[in-house]
Amino acid sequence: MKEGTVVEWLVEEGADISHGDELVEVESEKINNAVEAPTSGVLRRRVAKEGDVLPVGDLLGVIADSDVPDSDIEAFVEEFQSTFVPEEEDAGGPAPETVEVGGRSIQYLAMDETDSGTPLILIPGYGGDINIFVFNQETLSQDRAVYAIDMPGHGGSEKEVGDGSLDFFAGVVNGFMEEKGIGRAHLAGHSMGGAIASVFTLDNPDKVASLTLFASAGFGEEINSEYIEAFIAANKRKDMKAALQRLFADPSLVTRDLVADILAYKRKDGVNESLRTVADSVFADGKQSRVIDASKLGVPILAVWGDDDKIVPSSHSKNLPDDAKVETIENKGHMVQMEAAGPTNRVVSEFLSRVE
């Protein structure tokens, strides 16, 4: 993400706002998202105008207490605008790297400038890649190193997926940790990635500090197999857009670029075959093949679900142990960590620091 278009302000100038309130809707290359207030106070200035295209890091508005004089606000805006330099295009944060795991090339994105604390590993779900954590990884990396991994058959990793089972993918996570010298980590997975993280935890309890499950598979039989089949079948823009829209509570969030990126991935040789293999293993006969006995996980668990999840029902959180923390977010869909990035990041940060 290098720039964004200011779509619409959601609050008026002069309004009292609290930390986490949605302030302004911004359209990036991939998805529309609301920018949340990083602090509480009064929205004193809406500096960005609707329709502006701004680089990452530019000034959207000014929040301050009501007793700060207008002249100070104006001086701040002027000072910011006269000194602000957008980041160079090519310096847009860390780039994905690859590592050999069990003879397969695995792509991952490391944000490891902070190495205090136990690292966090992010595992995308079926058909997804590291980009699904685009709104989470940087924020979460303020406290610890965070790695997002493309599973085989997905993103920029090797296409071949073995038997396509959860055990196979859990083995890749294990191999990745060994290659990177990570002895113990917090694991967080989205959808099938949550099931992979859970299977890994059952096999390697000593290596897991905690489990964070975003709209996780693995805790009930139901799965929207129509979505799975539509995703595999879609080879044209219109079909793919319709499939992807099921992932969000607000279908308008699916942009042309998101659809184009997923199609470019799907059109690579071997991808559809791998997706088929995984679906036949993990989601055979229209249901989830493996329901994990959550009482055997034995690590602190956080589950985040959107209550409008059309892929894996949020009611599956009832199958988690009583001491699991469950956060259900209203009016959000399966991609809850994208659609409600701010609240998700807050609850995850708080959970990880508590169980550290």
């Binding site: 090519d90 296409k159 823009r237």
Partner: protein, 339 residues
């Protein structure tokens, strides 16, 4: 960052990956290996512009040079395709296609139909089109409308390196004869292209840019002109939706119609001569299917109805440019002079 390579390298890589994957994929044409019979010149040339350069070293048994007899080797390609091979024949300039129309129009395009669907003809004819390199009238024409007119042929015109590779792989894997048109001015153009093999499907137009005011359909190299015009028009508050059909046969008319239903205005940019062109074809289809959506008369931006000139000054005027595209867009909005 994804890897960046040229339009030419993208086409070369597509052929190499398909030759590697499938030994029945063969490549031939004039000087495709090198200067035949010239000692030390093996693999030196690689076709007129060097698109097949390097293939002979990797696949010596799957590439050969042909005599300068287009009717013979295009006929050979049709025959090879009917008997189990997947030939990719290069016919230097599309302007030379006339001598083998019988092989293309009456043989390759008709086999499947005449033999009741029992024959397949998986051949690709690669060829260059377009003006811009001072190569005069017999080396500069944009003749894709002629092939689009013939049922049984597929016609592909990639506008960028990513599409060039994916469409070439689709063309080679397709079981029907495909005319694959490469713009000679674009060979050096760079773009992001994955290293892996991938396909871009036929009959799916690319929406290059979204906009609500005017639908701009542009073909091949003209997509660049449309993009340039759209950027400048955006400054005037006119937002163009640019549609690149990518394949002219089959044509994704649905995407064009849906866009016009939204914008109500159409401009087609086509480097061909205007009569019986893709521009006139699309304008006709839109007029027939979206008449009640249209807010103004559709516009065509094409070459004039004359041969491509040799004079550089005249050739530069011959090819549509961003300025002419912008003028046509303004004409549809009533905001300026007609094109």
């Amino acid at each position: 960052m994804a890897r960046t390579i040229s339009y030419m390298a993208a086409i070369n890589e597509a052929m190499a990956q398909e030759m590697e994957r499938d030994p029945t994929v063969i490549v031939f044409g004039e000087d495709n290996v090198g200067g035949t019979g010239s000692p030390g010149e093996i693999d030196a040339w690689g076709g007129v512009m060097g698109v097949t350069k390097g293939l002979h070293g990797k696949f010596p048994n799957q590439i050969m040079d042909t005599p300068i007899s287009e009717s013979a080797f295009i006929g050979a390609a049709a025959g090879a395709a009917c008997s189990g091979l997947r030939p990719v024949a290069e016919l230097m300039f599309v302007d030379f296609m006339g001598v083998c129309f019988d092989q293309i129009f009456n043989q390759a395009a008709k086999f499947k139909y005449m033999f009741g669907g029992k024959a397949k003809t998986p051949m690709v004819i690669r060829t260059m089109y377009g003006a811009g390199i001072r190569a005069a009238s017999q080396h500069s024409q944009t003749l894709y409308p002629i092939f689009t007119h013939i049922p049984g042929l597929k016609v592909v015109v990639p506008s960028n390196p990513y599409d060039a590779k994916g469409l070439m792989i689709s063309a080679i894997r397709d079981d029907d004869p495909v005319i694959f048109l490469e713009n000679k001015v674009q060979y050096a153009e760079e773009g992001e292209v994955p290293e892996e093999s991938y396909t871009v499907p036929f009959a799916e137009a690319d929406i290059v840019r979204e906009g609500d005011d005017v639908t701009l359909v542009a073909i091949g190299r003209m997509v660049n002109m449309a993009k340039e015009a759209a950027e400048s028009l955006s400054g005037d508050g006119i937002e163009c939706e640019i549609i690149d059909p990518r394949t002219l046969s089959p044509l994704d008319d649905e995407t064009i119609f849906e866009s016009v239903e939204n914008t109500g205005r159409l401009v087609v940019v086509d480097e061909s001569n205007p009569r019986c062109s893709i521009a006139s074809d699309i304008v006709a289809m839109v007029s027939q299917n979206c008449f009640s959506d249209l807010k103004s008369a559709p516009q065509m931006v094409t070459a004039p109805h004359v041969p491509p000139p040799f004079s550089g000054v005249l050739e530069d005027l011959y090819v549509p440019d961003a300025e002419r595209v912008a003028a046509a867009v303004k004409a549809t909005t009533g905001a300026g002079a007609t094109a």
